[in-house]
């Protein structure tokens, strides 16, 4: 237990509560473990534990997408529809972190849900859609994100989504219409997809449309061609004649959002967007080496065939080191951004801020060479 008290002020500290005292005894009885390590064995979702969730259901949406219902730990602080959550998933035993939108409003059963579209070659999304089973555990962080509807909800809304961009929006819609007195907002949803078969929540959205709760405009690339937002005859203004009276929320790939931003700016309209950060896993095969930056500000130009440890030391950076042959783990440092190559087998390790572990991906500097620019927290 560490509390930040200045020397001399400890005497004025209130006496520890019974709970604190018990915890201190328990801690002394299980050292070098912490009490939480022991409690985790029995109740990983309890209050006070690191935030986790247990998968309670996996519902297929299309062939390549599924909704995952998760019971979060007791310390889950709730969310507003439209927000996203970072989850840590063990794929083939290795923990990988990704961000997904929450696709329900707060649910009566206290569970949260996210809908995942399996991206071709996407390690985590493929795993979540095709290989997760109820009972498995996930690591969670608290919900985040400013892509939420204002309160009170405006009278007229335009929602523009493409592909899995529907995921934060479906959360908003479900929340609006699950209330005892459904919202009286006039909503137009322009839902863009490659084809009918690939459209997530197609039937649910059509049902909302049939009930008259939303005006659903479906656009399929294979039927209608790619949506040109600014086109005078087939663009957004043609699809939504009263566009200028609506507050617009949009979520989808960067190309669509860029076009929308330009379009709305020209018309002087307000627009709120949510951008999914792409998982940057470009082919780094051609690159050799790169600049390695350290937390203290030093910058080292590292060759692609030289261990970062050697390159950094040659440049005068004080590095932790050990065996220098990849076995002792004495040199492990967190990679915050960029990619490194294992000199032994060529394997790449990539860190993407906002995607991979916020504390960095630990790498052995003695056998890792820079594969492009990277930044190390040291």
């Amino acid at each position: 237990m560490s509390t930040d008290t200045l020397p001399g002020t400890s005497r004025s500290r209130p006496r520890p509560t019974l709970r604190e005292s018990l915890r201190r005894v328990a801690s002394a009885a299980v050292t070098p473990l912490e009490v939480d390590d022991v409690l985790d064995v029995f109740h990983p979702l309890r209050s006070g534990a690191a935030l986790r969730g247990r998968i309670v259901d996996v519902q297929p949406e299309t062939d390549e997408s599924a909704t995952i219902v998760i019971k979060p730990g007791r310390d889950w602080a709730g969310h507003v529809p439209g927000q996203y959550v970072r989850i840590g998933v063990d794929v083939d035993g290795t923990r990988l972190w990704r961000t997904y939108s929450l696709t329900h409003g707060p649910r009566a059963d206290g569970c949260i849900s996210l809908t995942v579209k399996a991206i071709p070659g996407g390690v985590v999304s493929q795993h979540l859609v095709h290989r997760t089973r109820p009972g498995q555990m996930l690591q969670l962080e608290q919900a985040e994100g400013a892509f939420v509807l204002p309160q009170p909800v405006p009278d007229k809304l335009l929602l523009v989504t493409a592909g899995s961009g529907i995921t934060p929006v479906i959360g908003m819609l479900r929340n609006l219409f699950s209330r005892a007195t459904p919202a009286a907002t006039d909503i137009v949803l322009v839902h863009v997809n490659a084809s009918e078969a690939a459209a997530i929540f197609r039937d649910e959205l059509r049902a909302l449309g049939a009930d008259g709760r939303i005006t659903l405009i479906e656009r399929y690339d294979d039927q209608h061609g790619l949506l040109d937002v600014a086109h005078p005859e087939s663009g957004l203004a043609a699809l939504v004649p009263d566009l200028d009276q609506r507050l617009t929320y949009a979520c989808g790939p960067a190309g669509l959002l860029d076009a929308l931003e330009q379009h709305h700016a020209e018309r002087g309209l307000q627009l709120t967007t949510e951008r999914f950060r792409p998982v940057v896993l470009a082919d780094l095969g051609g690159l050799s080496g790169g600049p390695v930056s350290f937390a203290d500000g030093s910058l080292v130009e590292a060759d692609g065939g030289v261990p970062i440890l050697d390159a950094a030391e040659a440049a005068g950076v004080l590095m932790p080191s050990g065996c220098r042959m990849g076995i002792c783990m004495g040199c492990v440092l967190p990679l915050m951004d960029g990619a490194v190559r294992d000199l032994r087998n060529g394997a790449l390790t990539v860190a993407v801020p906002g995607e991979t572990d916020p504390a960095g991906v630990p790498i052995q500097t003695c056998i890792s060479a820079a594969a492009g620019a990277c930044s190390i927290n040291h």
Partner: protein, 413 residues
């Protein structure tokens, strides 16, 4: 035993540099196969072992709360002993090697793990992972080999103080966790340095080790016994903790002695190691400097798979649960290059290691030339060698070696 390059039939003399390189390539291929297939099953394995260990330890400590009842004492003590052994061997040692770092789980990671032992994880990782695994069996560089205080090689000059080394080794076994902490701190070397000249690193490590020992000791010898006080089980619980630590110490000491100490395991001379030692050279040194223990699955688990010491030294960062699987392939490489894959049962290896401790506690050739018949004269000789100064010692030593050589020639004929 003597260092490998002074042996008449040096087993690596027949290996060409190309052979050594080829061995390196073949072992790298085995390593890569495990890396490629490492995954969910392995992660599930280590999580299961950690879960079982925690439940066992907690359950045993719960039973010990009523250890005033003899069956509870026996059950709780046995469970706690096993739990401590599992924690140190299959979990702690292997996690700190980084065998499970690929899971990227901060709860099971070499940089965050702290183990149930007197030595701190940090000090252990330096002296064990870095020094021992890099300089395996190099006389004068590998502390594991000599423990700094023993005569481990014929070439080391005999001195009467070595007569006490079997006793010393036994005491070290009983208090092994403190022995480890002491040599992780290089206590012997550092205590000889005047206090004001000792390094900051040493001072800092000593402080953290003492803090850890204090926490460890209060857990086992104060807090848990006090928790058992209401049922009148304070003393039995204290005894149970002492016993469990003793059992763990004796067991880990035996396993570790078996890894590098049995007769026939090679040691290396500092001068003979090429400063530009290739990966193949390093592999060969690991192959010849380690010994395996054969046995059941349960035995492998309780040794933390250090029963696959050879595989562990070749691939210290591969999951321990995979050593059994790669062992036949490793063994085949030994066979192909006519190298000795040193493997025997636990009793045989423990006996062999202890035999060496005893043999080297005596002057070279002494044990070989002693029979039941000449025992009284031999005892007299040893007394003289121990008490009458270095001149007598030298002369007697020369005679002993001559006799031993004659015996050997006679045996060969």
């Amino acid at each position: 035993m003597t260092v490998i390059n002074k042996k008449p039939n040096n087993p690596i003399e027949n290996l060409t540099p190309e052979d050594v390189e080829q061995i390196g390539i073949e072992l790298d291929a085995i390593r890569q196969d495990v890396l490629d297939s490492r995954g969910e099953k392995d992660a599930a394995y280590i999580r299961r072992v950690v879960g079982v260990q925690r439940k066992l330890e907690l359950g045993s400590r719960a039973v010990l709360l009523v250890s005033i009842l003899p069956p509870a004492w026996v059950l709780g003590t046995a469970g706690l002993s096993v739990a401590k052994i599992l924690e140190n061997m299959e979990i702690g040692h292997n996690v700190m090697h980084g065998q499970w770092d690929w899971m990227r789980d901060p709860k099971i990671h070499s940089t965050t793990w702290e183990w149930d032992n007197a030595s701190t994880a940090e000090a252990w990782k330096h002296s064990h992972n870095e020094v021992h695994h890099t300089y395996t069996n190099i006389v004068g560089k590998d502390n594991d080999l000599g423990y700094g205080i023993m005569r481990v090689d014929e070439d080391q000059k005999w001195h009467p103080m070595y007569l006490a080394q079997p006793l010393w080794n036994f005491l070290n076994a009983c208090f092994f966790e403190y022995g480890i902490a002491a040599y992780d701190l290089e206590l012997g070397k550092n205590l000889r340095i005047p206090k004001e000249k000792r390094s900051e690193v040493f001072k800092r490590n000593t402080k953290s080790t003492l803090a850890k020992i204090r926490k460890q000791a209060s857990k086992d010898y104060v807090v848990n016994p006090l928790l058992a006080l209401p049922t009148g089980s304070l003393l039995p619980t204290l005894a149970a903790n002492v016993t469990a630590n003793l059992v763990r110490n004796l067991w880990t000491h035996s396993v570790i002695m078996c890894g590098h100490f049995p007769e026939g395991v090679e040691t290396f001379e500092r001068k003979s190691i090429d400063p530009n030692e290739t990966r193949g050279d390093w592999y060969v040194r690991q192959m010849l400097g380690s010994a395996n223990i054969s046995g059941s699955k349960g035995m492998h688990l309780m040794t933390g798979n250090l029963s696959h010491q050879i595989e562990h030294h070749l691939f210290p960062d591969l999951p321990s649960s995979r050593y059994a699987e790669v062992a036949p392939r490793v063994k085949a490489i030994f066979a192909r290059y006519d190298l000795n894959y040193h493997e025997a049962s636990l009793p045989a290896q423990v006996y062999s290691a202890w035999h060496k401790v005893v043999r080297l506690s005596l002057p070279n050739g002494f044990l070989a030339t002693t029979t039941v018949k000449n025992a009284p004269e031999q005892a007299k000789l040893l007394w003289a060698m121990s008490t009458k100064g270095s001149k007598v010692r030298r002369a007697a030593q020369a005679r002993l070696q001559q006799q031993a050589r004659k015996l050997e020639v006679a045996k060969a004929a």
